[in-house]
């Protein structure tokens, strides 16, 4: 095995899962089965990912394969968002569009500015980081918008009744939902290095990269995540506004029909 951790080390870390299972059993949480399933599922998924990345990063592989894999990741991320917020029609397509837009903007900046070379080694991991981190914010902002629109329906309709176009009538409530989705990411960014060490940086340090080198890479990744979360949530907000209003500026929530 090539890497800072031997197979035996991976197996040993499984003891930590057993400790968690033990605590669950001791406290009567009834999460033992879920914990074991989650741990095994993560192991299998990561091993599969390792195999895919090994194939994609092999010398001579066409870069198009990496981009194809990114497209598959976007497809599944969109499906996950749709599954978590099933009440919004068209959210699968919308969230796929949001992830794609974010990929174009964020990876465009990183690759365009030459921060990383465009290779099989960089495309899939960076896109994975971007999509994975944006997905949580995307689900959060979608739910928040639905909750905000349901809660403030009267206010929104009062604004519409004053002759406001739907874009104006929705603005304060979309803004609030976007703030709610972005604030956790902003707080995480603020606390990094003081409260916690990000996983990627720890990985680089364990792999023997110098602390300053690890910090430089981590800063780029943090900014990538911040930018991608901002882009995806904004696209989702704009798209949901189009989904939830008719062309005649009428608010149509899912349970209206």
């Amino acid at each position: 095995m090539s890497g800072p951790v031997e197979l035996l080390g991976v197996a040993a870390s499984g003891l930590l899962v057993l400790i968690a299972v033990g605590i669950s059993a001791w406290a009567g949480l009834r999460l033992e089965r879920d914990l074991i399933t989650a741990a095994l599922r993560a192991l299998v998924q990561l091993l599969l990912l390792g195999l895919v990345l090994t194939a994609l990063m092999a010398p001579g592989q066409p870069l198009a394969l990496s981009w194809l894999w990114v497209a598959v990741m976007i497809l599944f991320a969109g499906w996950t968002v749709h599954r978590r917020v099933p009440s919004v029609r068209g959210l699968w397509l919308l969230s796929m569009g949001a992830f794609a837009a974010s990929a174009v903007v964020t990876l465009g900046v990183l690759f365009g500015a030459g921060v990383f070379p465009v290779t099989g080694t960089t495309v899939v991991p960076l896109a994975g980081l971007m999509i994975g981190n944006s997905m949580t914010a995307t689900i959060l902002v979608s739910r928040r918008i639905m909750a905000e629109f349901k809660d403030k329906r009267l206010e929104i309709e009062a604004r519409l009744a004053l002759g406001h176009p739907s874009s104006e009538a929705a603005k304060p409530y979309l803004r609030e939902a976007l703030r709610t989705a972005l604030i956790p990411q902003v707080e995480t960014t603020k606390a990094v290095g003081i409260v916690f060490l990000p996983g990627m940086m720890v990985g680089l340090l364990l792999a023997g990269v110098s602390p300053l080198g690890a910090v430089q890479a981590q800063v780029v990744i943090m900014y990538l995540v911040l930018g991608s979360v901002a882009v995806t949530t904004s696209v989702i907000a704009l798209g949901m506004r189009r989904i939830l209003f008719t062309h005649a500026h009428q608010l149509r929530l899912p349970n209206d029909e």
């Binding site: 009267l154 206010e155 604004r159 009744a161 176009p165 005649a248």
Partner: protein, 229 residues
């Protein structure tokens, strides 16, 4: 009550219908999925006075009002404003011409002035004028919306609507959440507006209120018009 200018500002909207009707409902149906809320409504609302729509809960009264300014579109049939199908009018102009007051006071965050400015009218003289027309003094402009009583808030909502100089006022049970005194104040304001040329479509299920303010009565039951007096 002070006079409220009733000059229509939405000149691109129709100003008169051949039959004198303000709203005409022609075989109007509204369904939400399989549930029919309005069933073949045929109704003419005249262009003056207070027309009261009454009926039990779930009879379709609120749905009927929402068709007037296209917060909702009919599933079948047509709703016309002064002879023109509302769907053929610019919806944003229509909404400024058909002022609406909701069942619950719906003020936005901020002060009363912020609420007034949400109409796009920022002229302080107009703000004072509409406040006076609903019996509130100019000091209310700086009051926070959240600090107002239910009655004051509903009067501010009415004043906010009047800032747009609507051609007609649609009020969907505007006194439902108010006490007796506040309700009477609002009824007086409605009568004043109607007497100054702003026709009103007023929804209620309060029979005593119907007796006090109605020039005409439309009784809805089960999504149908069962009587017009």
């Amino acid at each position: 009550m002070n006079s409220q200018p009733a000059t229509p500002t939405n000149q691109r909207l129709p100003t008169a219908a051949p039959d004198g009707a303000l709203f005409t409902f022609d075989d109007v149906t509204v369904a939400f999925g399989k549930a029919q809320v309005l069933r073949g409504i045929d109704l003419q609302v005249p262009g003056s006075g207070i027309t009261v729509v009454l009926g039990p809960s779930g009879s379709g009264k609120s749905t009927l009002t929402r068709l007037c300014n296209r917060l909702l579109d009919a599933t079948g049939g047509t709703v016309s404003l002064r002879g023109t199908d509302v769907r053929d009018l610019d919806v944003l102009e229509l909404r400024r011409a058909v002022g609406m007051v909701f069942q619950r006071p719906t003020l936005f965050d901020g002060t009363v002035r912020d609420n007034f400015e949400a109409t796009g009218v920022s002229d302080p003289a107009r703000h004072h004028e509409v406040l006076a027309s609903v019996g509130l003094d100019a000091n209310f402009l700086v009051r926070g919306a959240a600090t107002l009583s239910g009655g004051e808030a509903q009067r501010v909502c009415l004043a906010r609507t009047l800032l747009m100089r609507p051609q007609v006022l649609v009020a969907d049970e505007p006194t439902a959440s108010l006490d007796e005194a506040a309700s009477r104040t609002l009824e007086g304001l409605a009568r004043g507006l109607a007497d100054h040329g702003v026709p009103i479509l007023w929804v209620t299920h309060d029979l005593a209120q119907v007796e006090r303010i109605a020039d005409r009565r439309v009784l809805l039951e089960g999504g149908r018009v069962v009587a017009v007096e």
